[in-house]
Structure formats: structure tokens, C-alpha cells
């Protein structure tokens, strides 16, 4: 019952990170060793939403790019994926609420201080546009005459405008979630605030590229391969920062969360490389796409989990704050 909880030595397992721990974690104290913070109550709905929201945003951008560059197949895939992503996102967000019947209370206010409020309004803008854009893709199925014929004729331009509008809000949708996590007391999330939007932006593009590689006509996927490469560059550059956080970067490199993050990176590398070399192989393209999608899922769940770990262990709360006080000097610590 008193089985001693051995402090997991930084560096064990990865060979990295040990030198970044500036405070000897053995020194920290807390009330009966319990967490100082309340670990996030968000369920995996929210990790899932990080993925679906990013996917929707990336796909909307791809849809708009395809539209502007005349790739109708890719355009349709982009638009449909964007709609699917945003629909799933809405479901997940509402499902995660303690009182789902009150989801509309989110529209009482618009608070710049609340990334969730900002996100709500972004979603409120993005969702309908993405919907309209996707539905416009159904135009060819409508009869050519009569009132529906008018709709058939009007749908493409409306869809195009909506698609562009959705794309305009998409980068915000993809990156605000970085602020959503960072704007908390959760040490590993908060301290990662400079990186998270980039990781999420990259991850969003990677996932969307992945879906495109799987679903779009092979002839239209060239931009996706470039996009995958860019996504990997953004995400990996951002992700590199995570590990420079010191103690609070530890969960990104260790444990289950660390394994997820690493898996995300590996899949990203594999997927990107595959995308670049798979130009002629439909199957290889699809596999590469799947790796990119999986990478995004793993990264999101990894980041999500890392935050939970950091809030659950008081070490990540107390030790950095102690370190900060020590730097301020004895006068500051009173």
C-alpha cells in the first residue's frame, strides 16, 4: 500500500529530455501528494474533436484550392470531408458537455478571452459554409428544369462562394484549438502555447491531405503531396518546440502520451515520404494517406493525453513554479 512511487527518471527510454529537467523533481511537495490542479474532465470526445476539426479545416482549404485550380474531384472530396469533419466536430463537442441540452448557451456571449467561445463562433461561421459548399456538389443530381433546375444552376456558384468562405475561416478553425488547450492551467498545454497552433495546423493539413490521397482521383493529388510535405514541415518544426519546454515537456516524450506523440511523428514521416514517392501507385498513395490521417489522430490524442498527465501529477505544477520563485529570489518567495 505504501509501494513507493518511483520517480520516472527523465531520459529513461528516449535518451532525450533528461538534460532539460531543471528542477530535481524529487523535491516537490504537495498535499498528500495529490494533484494541485483538477485534471481536465474532457473526455476523448475533445481529442477526437481536435482531429475532426482540423480535418474539416484542412479539407475546406483543399476544397477551395482544388476549386481555384480546377480539380473538381479533389474539390468534392475536400468539401465533403470538410462537412463530415465539422458535423462530427459538432457532435463531439455537444456530446462532451455535461448538459448537452444547453449547448446553445454557447451563443449567449462572444468572449475573446475564451478560446472556446471564439471557436464556437468560428464553427458557427465555418459549419454552414462548409455545408453549403458540400451540398452544392450535389447539383449534378438535380433535374435540369423547373425550380430545382434553377437550384442546379445556382448551386455551383453559391457553393464556390461558400467554399471560399469556409476556407477563409478554416485556418482559424484549425489553429484556435491550440489556444483552446494552451489557455488552461494544465502545465504541458499552457507551456506549449507557442507550438500547439503550429502542430495543430500541420496536423490538420496532414490529415486532410491524407484523406485526399485516399479518396481523390489520382490525377488531381499532386498538390496534396506538396501539402503533405508542408504539413510535415510545419508540424515537426512546431513539435520540436514541445520538447524544449523543460519539465512540462516531459509528458510529450514519455509514457503513453509520449508514445502517441512519437507514433504521430513517425507516421507523419512515413506518410509524407510515401506521398512523395507514390505518385503512380494508387495503393501506395492510399496507404500514405492513411498514415497521414493516423498520424494526425495519434498526435491529437498524444497532446491531449500529455496535458492530462501533467495536470494529474503535481510535480508538473509545483516544481516549475518553485523554480520560478527561486529565480525571482528569496524576496519574491516570501
Amino acid at each position: 500500500m505504501t509501494a513507493g512511487q518511483r520517480h520516472r527518471q527523465p531520459g529513461r527510454g528516449s535518451g532525450r529530455g533528461g538534460e532539460q529537467v531543471t528542477v530535481p523533481p524529487a523535491d516537490f511537495t504537495s498535499y498528500y501528494g495529490r494533484p494541485v490542479l483538477k485534471p481536465p474532465v474532457w473526455k476523448h470526445d475533445i481529442a477526437g474533436y481536435l482531429f475532426t476539426g482540423g480535418l474539416a479545416a484542412g479539407s475546406a482549404l483543399i476544397g477551395a484550392g482544388a476549386h481555384l485550380t480546377g480539380r473538381p474531384g479533389l474539390r468534392a472530396v475536400g468539401r465533403w470531408t470538410a462537412l463530415g469533419g465539422v458535423a462530427a466536430s459538432t457532435y463531439l463537442l455537444i456530446h462532451d458537455l455535461g448538459r448537452p441540452d444547453r449547448f446553445h448557451h454557447m451563443l449567449r456571449v462572444a468572449k475573446l478571452t475564451s478560446p472556446m467561445s471564439v471557436g464556437t463562433w468560428i464553427l458557427a461561421a465555418f459549419g454552414p459554409m462548409a455545408g453549403v459548399a458540400a451540398v452544392a456538389e450535389l447539383a449534378p443530381l438535380l433535374p435540369q428544369h423547373g425550380p430545382l433546375g434553377l437550384a442546379r444552376r445556382l448551386a455551383p456558384p453559391v457553393g464556390n462562394v461558400a467554399g471560399l468562405a469556409a476556407a477563409a475561416t478554416a485556418p482559424a478553425l484549425a489553429t484556435y484549438t491550440g489556444v483552446l488547450l494552451a489557455d488552461t492551467a494544465v502545465p504541458s498545454w499552457h507551456d506549449a502555447y507557442p507550438s500547439l497552433p503550429f502542430v495543430f495546423a500541420g496536423s490538420a493539413l496532414a490529415a486532410a491531405s491524407g484523406v485526399g490521397l485516399i479518396a481523390a482521383p489520382a490525377a488531381e493529388t499532386a498538390p496534396l503531396r506538396r501539402l503533405a510535405l508542408a504539413a510535415a514541415a510545419i508540424e515537426l518544426a512546431g513539435g520540436r518546440q514541445l520538447e524544449r519546454l523543460g519539465l512540462t515537456g516531459e509528458p510529450y516524450g514519455h509514457g503513453r502520451s509520449g508514445r502517441l506523440v512519437r507514433a504521430g511523428r513517425a507516421l507523419l514521416a512515413v506518410g509524407t515520404a510515401g506521398a512523395l514517392v507514390s505518385r503512380r501507385s494508387r495503393i501506395l498513395s492510399a496507404i500514405s494517406g492513411a498514415a497521414l490521417v493516423a498520424s494526425s489522430v495519434a498526435t491529437r490524442f498524444g497532446v491531449f493525453e500529455a496535458g492530462r498527465v501533467s495536470a494529474r501529477d503535481p510535480k508538473y505544477t509545483v516544481a516549475p513554479q518553485r523554480e520560478r520563485l527561486a529565480q525571482k529570489g528569496p524576496a519574491a518567495s516570501r
Partner: protein
């Protein structure tokens, strides 16, 4: 008009038009908060009472609404307690409104394995029967030397010390008149 009031009650509208652009306070206040008031303010009555636990004698205010106790708290007027209560005194409302309180007479027959219900009047009469029977059966008029005893040792009583003085007075008076000597109290313990 309705629409206008609806729009004006929309916190976002108040945010945009009022003094609270960030939606932190005035703009975000809900209908519930606007109408909030302490239930002591809306109580039908307030009785001045005394805590039933230890002997410090902390004064309590008992607030009642629709015949139910809605709050019990310390009475700041008291020179003894100055409105303060310990956890027990503070739990007085939960004590008197506890769902675990027994509010009906329960009766266990000799050799029975369970409780049954009993009417209060019936119970009172049954108890009176038993008191009189026990008294008659164990009555002692005089001792060996012929000195008066006037008593029964067949009946006992153990009273808690949360009884009122008036209650103790009647208990002692009745038992003494019955010759029932064996009354005891927590004060012995």
C-alpha cells in the same frame, strides 16, 4: 417589443452596447442571478432557538418557509456564541429535516423478527396499560421495618440530556407520583 426585449436580454447585445465588452460581469449576468436573494429574506418566519448538541448553548435562528425549516444558522446577537456554530450546530437543518428521521410509531411484538406499524393513540394506551401493570406487579408499600417505600422498582427510565427543563420537570413529577424511582439521565453518565 418582445423581440426588442429579447435582443436586449441577449448578453452578446449587452456586451456590444454596454460597459462590459469582454462579457465578464454585468453583461453576462443571468436572469437567475438577477432575481437571486437569500432565502432567509423570503422566509415566512424566524424562530429564535438554541443548538441541541453540546452545552455551550449557541443561539440559533430557525427560518421557516411553507411549514418547512429552510435554514438554521447562528444568531449573531448571542453574547455566548456571537453567531457562530460548530459543524454539529451548523448541521442542525440536516438533523431536523433528515430523510432518515422516523416519523411514525413502530412496534416490535415479543419474539418477532420485524417491526410493524402502530397507531399513536393505541401505542399511548398500550404503554399506559403496561406502566400500570408493571407498577402493580412490583409495588412496594413498606420496608421490612414497616417504614413507607411507596414505590415500584419495576420501571426504569433513562433520559437524554437534550430534554427541556419543562420536560424533565414533568417526567420527574409524574414518575415520582407513580412511585417510579428509577429515573436516570445522561447527567449520571
Amino acid at each position: 417589443m418582445g423581440v426588442r426585449r429579447w435582443v436586449e436580454s441577449w448578453p452578446l447585445y449587452r456586451q456590444l452596447t454596454g460597459t462590459d465588452p469582454l462579457g465578464r460581469g454585468a453583461a453576462a449576468k443571468s436572469a437567475g442571478s438577477l432575481s437571486l436573494t437569500a432565502r432567509t429574506e423570503t422566509a415566512d418566519s424566524m424562530a429564535r432557538s438554541v443548538c441541541p448538541y453540546c452545552a455551550v448553548g449557541c443561539a440559533q435562528r430557525v427560518f421557516v418557509k411553507d411549514g418547512q425549516v429552510t435554514q438554521i444558522e447562528g444568531d449573531p446577537d448571542s453574547p455566548i456564541s456571537r453567531g457562530r456554530l460548530c459543524p454539529k450546530g451548523a448541521a442542525s437543518k440536516s438533523l431536523v429535516t433528515s430523510p432518515f428521521r422516523q416519523t411514525t410509531v413502530r412496534y416490535r411484538r415479543p419474539y418477532s423478527t420485524q417491526w410493524e406499524d402502530l397507531d399513536l393513540d393505541t401505542a399511548m394506551n398500550m404503554i399506559a396499560d403496561r406502566v400500570l401493570a408493571a407498577r402493580d406487579e412490583t409495588w412496594e408499600d413498606v420496608d421490612d421495618a414497616g417504614r413507607p417505600l411507596n414505590r415500584t422498582l419495576g420501571i426504569s427510565s433513562l433520559g437524554g440530556a437534550t430534554l427541556d427543563n419543562e420536560e424533565n420537570y414533568l417526567i420527574k413529577k409524574l414518575f415520582t407520583a407513580m412511585g417510579a424511582l428509577q429515573i436516570e439521565n445522561q447527567a449520571r453518565i
